[in-house]
Amino acid sequence: MTESSWDESQPIVSIKDVHKSFGNLEVLKGISMDVMKGEVICIIGPSGSGKSTLIRCINALNDIQAGSITVEGIEVNDSKLDKLELRKKVGMVFQQYNLFPHKTALENVMMAPIKVLKQSPSDVESRARALIEKVRLQGKEDSYPGELSGGQQQRVAIARSLAMNPDIMLFDEVTAALDPETVKEVLVTIKDLAEEGMTCMLVTHEMGFAKEIADHIYFTDRGVIVEHGPPATFFADAKDERTKEFLSQIL
C-alpha cells in the first residue's frame, strides 16, 4: 500500500492481528485496533501486559513477528520501510524523557528538524520558541535538562517531538516517572494537544485522565485486548472479569 492511497476516512493507525515475542516470551498475541485521525485513545492494563511494546511497535522501535501495522497507509512491518518517512509522521514521548543532556532545552527542540529534516535554523528556532511557550516553559530555553524538574523535562520532550510536525503522538507512560505534583502540568499539556485535534495514543496509569480525554479506551492483559469502549461505558459497565478486577484495584 502506498501513502497516496490513504485518506482521512480511513484509520490513521490500523493494527491488525499483531504478534510480537521477545525470545520465547510472547508479549503481543494478536492485537487489533483502528485509530481515526484526531482520536485520542488510551491503552491501560497491568504491567507486563504488552501495552508499551504495542505503542513502540507503531513507530518501529520494536519489530513485530506477524500481523500488520499501517500508519497513514504506510506498512510498518515491511523490510523496505522508509523509517524517516514514518518517524516524521509519528512523534513519541518516553517515560524517562530521554532528553539529550548535553544540549539546552531549546537546542533539544531544534536539533532534529535542523539535522534530520535539514530545515533552516532560523525558521526552526522561531518555531521551537513558540513550542516552548506552548508547553509553558518560556524562560527555560537555555536551561540544560539536568537543571529542570521531571515535569519540565517531560514538557520539553513533548515540544521536541512536536517540532517534527507529527500527525500522531505516542505517549509511553509519560507521567510514571514524575513526582505527583508535576504530573498535572504534563497532563494539561497533553490535553491541550488533544483538544487541538492531534491524534494521540497514550499508555497510561492515570485513570482519571484517561476518562477525561480519551475517545476510546483499550484494556490489555497478557498480550491481548480484553475489552475496549468509550470511557463512559468502559468505566461504568465493564463486562470482563479481568477488567473489573483491574479497575477495582486501581480506582
Binding site: 521477545f22 522501535l61 512523534g91 530521554n98 532534529a112 535538562p145 521531571g150 516517572a177
Partner: protein, 299 residues
C-alpha cells in the same frame, strides 16, 4: 519486565530496571573512576613526595657508612650524568609515549567504533584484535614488533634506517590501541539506551545518532580512562630498555657502569628515574581533573 534493547551492537540497558527512573544522577563519591591510576596520582599529598625524596637522598648515607664512597660523591656523579640521562634518555621516553598514545588513540577510536558496528563482519574482527592486544604482555608485543619490523627500509632508492625508538612506538601503540578501543566501546555503552531510542524516534539515522547524540556525551566519560592509559604508558616506556632502545633506564645503567658500577649509585640514579616519571605524570593527572571539571559544568 526488562525490555531487551534492540539496537544492534549496543549492549547498554536503561540505567535501571525499576519503573521509576531519574535520567541523570549527580556524580557521587566512590565511582569506578576513583580507582584509576591517574586519579590516585593526582591526589598524592605533598608529604608523600617529600618522603620519597628524603628516602632517595638518605640512602647513600646509610649504604656508604661501610665504604669509602661518600654521599656527596654519589650525588656529584648523578649531577654529572644528569644532562646525558635527560636529553638522551627521558626525552625519548616522552617522545615514545607521546607518539604511541597518538597512534594508539587514533586506531583505538576506529577500532572502538568498529566494535559497536551492527555488522558482524566489522564487529568481530575489531573485537578479536582488541582482545588479543589488550590481553597480551606488553613486553612480548614489543619483542615481536622489534624483531618483525625491518631495521631499514628503501624509499625511492634511498635506504632509511628505522630508529629503535620508532619501533618501540609501534610496539607500545598496540596495547594502547586495544585499551582505547575498550574505553570507547565502554563509554558508548554507558549512555542509556533511551538516548538511542529518543534519537531514533526523532528520525535520526544510526550514524547521526552516534555522532550527534552519543559521542558528544561520551567525550567527558572518556577523558579519565584515556589519561589513565597515558600515565600507564609513560610508566611502561622503560620496558624498551630491555630491547636496547636508548631511553632513561638504558642511559642510567650506562652511566652507573661508567662510574664503575658502585652499588651506592643504584638508589640515587634509579630513585631519580622514579621521581622524574612522577614529576612528569603528576601535572598531567592534575590537568585531567581540571579538564573533567570543565566539561562537567555543561552536563
Amino acid at each position: 519486565m526488562i525490555k531487551p534493547n534492540k539496537i544492534p551492537g549496543i549492549q547498554s540497558r536503561p540505567s535501571t530496571d525499576l519503573p521509576v527512573l531519574k535520567p541523570f544522577t549527580a556524580k557521587a563519591a566512590g565511582e569506578p573512576e576513583d580507582l584509576l591510576f591517574s586519579r590516585w596520582l593526582a591526589s598524592t599529598p605533598i608529604w608523600a613526595w617529600l618522603l620519597l625524596i628524603v628516602i632517595i637522598f638518605a640512602w647513600p648515607g646509610v649504604s656508604s657508612a661501610a665504604s669509602s664512597y661518600t654521599m656527596t660523591q654519589a650525588f656529584q656523579a648523578l649531577w654529572r650524568w644528569l644532562p646525558f640521562i635527560i636529553t638522551g634518555g627521558f626525552l625519548f621516553n616522552v617522545i615514545i609515549s607521546f607518539f604511541a598514545m597518538l597512534i594508539g588513540t587514533a586506531f583505538g577510536v576506529v577500532l572502538g567504533l568498529m566494535q559497536i558496528s551492527p555488522l558482524r563482519i566489522i564487529r568481530w574482527p575489531a573485537q578479536f584484535l582488541t582482545q588479543i592486544f589488550r590481553n597480551s604482555p606488553w613486553l612480548v608485543l614489543l619483542f615481536i614488533v622489534l624483531l618483525a619490523l625491518p631495521f631499514e627500509v628503501e624509499i625511492a632508492g634511498e635506504i632509511i634506517r628505522i630508529p629503535d625508538w620508532v619501533k618501540a612506538v609501534f610496539g607500545l601503540c598496540l596495547p594502547i590501541m586495544a585499551n582505547i578501543s575498550e574505553v570507547v566501546r565502554g563509554a558508548i555503552n554507558s549512555v542509556p539506551s533511551g538516548q538511542w531510542e529518543a534519537a531514533e524516534s526523532l528520525a535520526y539515522t544510526r550514524q547521526q545518532t552516534l555522532w550527534q547524540i552519543i559521542l558528544p556525551q561520551c567525550f567527558k566519560r572518556m577523558i579519565p580512562p584515556w589519561m589513565n592509559w597515558y600515565a600507564i604508558l609513560t610508566m611502561a616506556t622503560p620496558l624498551c630498555s630491555l630491547l636496547g632502545v636508548e631511553e632513561l633506564i638504558t642511559l642510567s645503567r650506562q652511566a652507573i657502569e661508567a662510574e664503575n658500577n658502585r652499588p651506592e649509585l643504584l638508589v640515587p640514579f634509579y630513585g631519580f628515574a622514579l621521581l622524574i616519571f612522577f614529576a612528569y605524570c603528576y601535572p598531567i593527572a592534575r590537568a585531567t581533573i581540571a579538564l573533567e571539571r570543565r566539561f562537567a559544568v555543561k552536563l
